[in-house]
Symmetry: C2
Subunit: 230 residues, 2 copies
Amino acid sequence: MTTASQPRRTRTDEVYERLRADIFAARLRPGQRLKFPDLCGAYNTSVGVAREALARLAAERLVRPHAHQGYTVISLSKEELVDLTAARVELESIAFRLAIRDGDERWETAVVAAHHLLTRRDEAVARTGERDPDWYEAHEEFHAALLSGCGSRRLVEAAQALRAEAELYRHWAAPLGSGAPRDIAGEHKALADAALVRDADRGADLLRAHIARTTTVLLDGAIEEAVSDK
Amino acid sequence: MTTASQPRRTRTDEVYERLRADIFAARLRPGQRLKFPDLCGAYNTSVGVAREALARLAAERLVRPHAHQGYTVISLSKEELVDLTAARVELESIAFRLAIRDGDERWETAVVAAHHLLTRRDEAVARTGERDPDWYEAHEEFHAALLSGCGSRRLVEAAQALRAEAELYRHWAAPLGSGAPRDIAGEHKALADAALVRDADRGADLLRAHIARTTTVLLDGAIEEAVSDK
DNA sequence: TGTCAATGGATATTCGAAAGTTGGGTCGAA
DNA sequence: TTCGACCCAACTTTCGAATATCCATTGACA
């Protein structure tokens, strides 16, 4: 999963990052088969490198290995989304609760900073009318900051891994689930406030609702079409 | 982490499993460097295969990649053990709580079965005076069964991954922490009972204590010596 | 007509060697 | 003697070819 410690980049790192970006940018479709000949051509590399990059992505559950049949991009399904959401709701709410209880000033500061940046990016979204990669980055950082004071790196990382998977669903279903108008910025502000006033119960409830609501929206939209791809 | 879906075994699978077994069997020491020439000789394979096997182990955090310097077995430290334990306590207790609330008859049955097998293996341990791989397997299955009814595969798998890492600590420190006599079988029985009578509060508390107690024992023992290895 | 086995093309897996990088050791200068 | 640059050996990383496997299609048989 995680890459090396030093900033020494290897060719595998590059291919891994490009592949990952292509998955999140929806240039590769869920369920799509990733053939080595194609990959080597597209990323201008050799089989061994592509293989290791895919192995890393498999560790993140973004691709699935099939023995003797290569790899496919992970498939999306309502069942998996339900499972994923259940796990996220529990994991994130418990981590947030711990962070509110145990977080120090540095944690508070990180939350404030991340929320400020997210607010700025919200404004940019309001202007352009579309969420860009910058917004997604700030959103991810905000949620990571909320949990970062919980006292266990592993807890944060586990939550982060699940959130990455969930983001894939968001990217594929986001344009569809535009039925109910939703004040996401307000939800984020409420989360930040609960963190700063150290209200663990309210914070945990808000986060549960925040995560569950996104799933509800996605489930109303159609995910199936992405699943059926070969 | 997880291997392919079908029972088609590839050479990488074999090397991966043997390497993993060697780590848990303490034939490879924490922090030890894993050189490809040695690996290829020991497992009679090629570089590419060894590389992919190591990539899988890196996904489980059992080995660590260092760019241009190969892989090392994960290092043990008290700080990491504390972090790991904190994560496990929260994750397992919440999953157990959910399982007690939502688990069906199949879950109850699995708990009873796993506990029965563990009891039998306990008897074997009492006879031989030493825990064998069979006991560890039954122990792992019992704890997995406790959580299996929680309703989210991902939650169970996350807990399982952390438990595997913790087992590494147990294997390396177990012979040392034999100070306080401890009724582990009794603790397991209490856990199974709480599950069957559906007492979520008691079950969660018992599991927290069960996990935390193991860590306390390990922390009293010396872990440092395993860390300092190059 | 339906089922099963054989065949061929495409693809994944594995290997061994070439290329590039690291860290340590040696030599020389201050 | 100490510091720094250079060099060498060992190792990791990368590559492209050789091998093994799978899937779809075809043909034969019931």
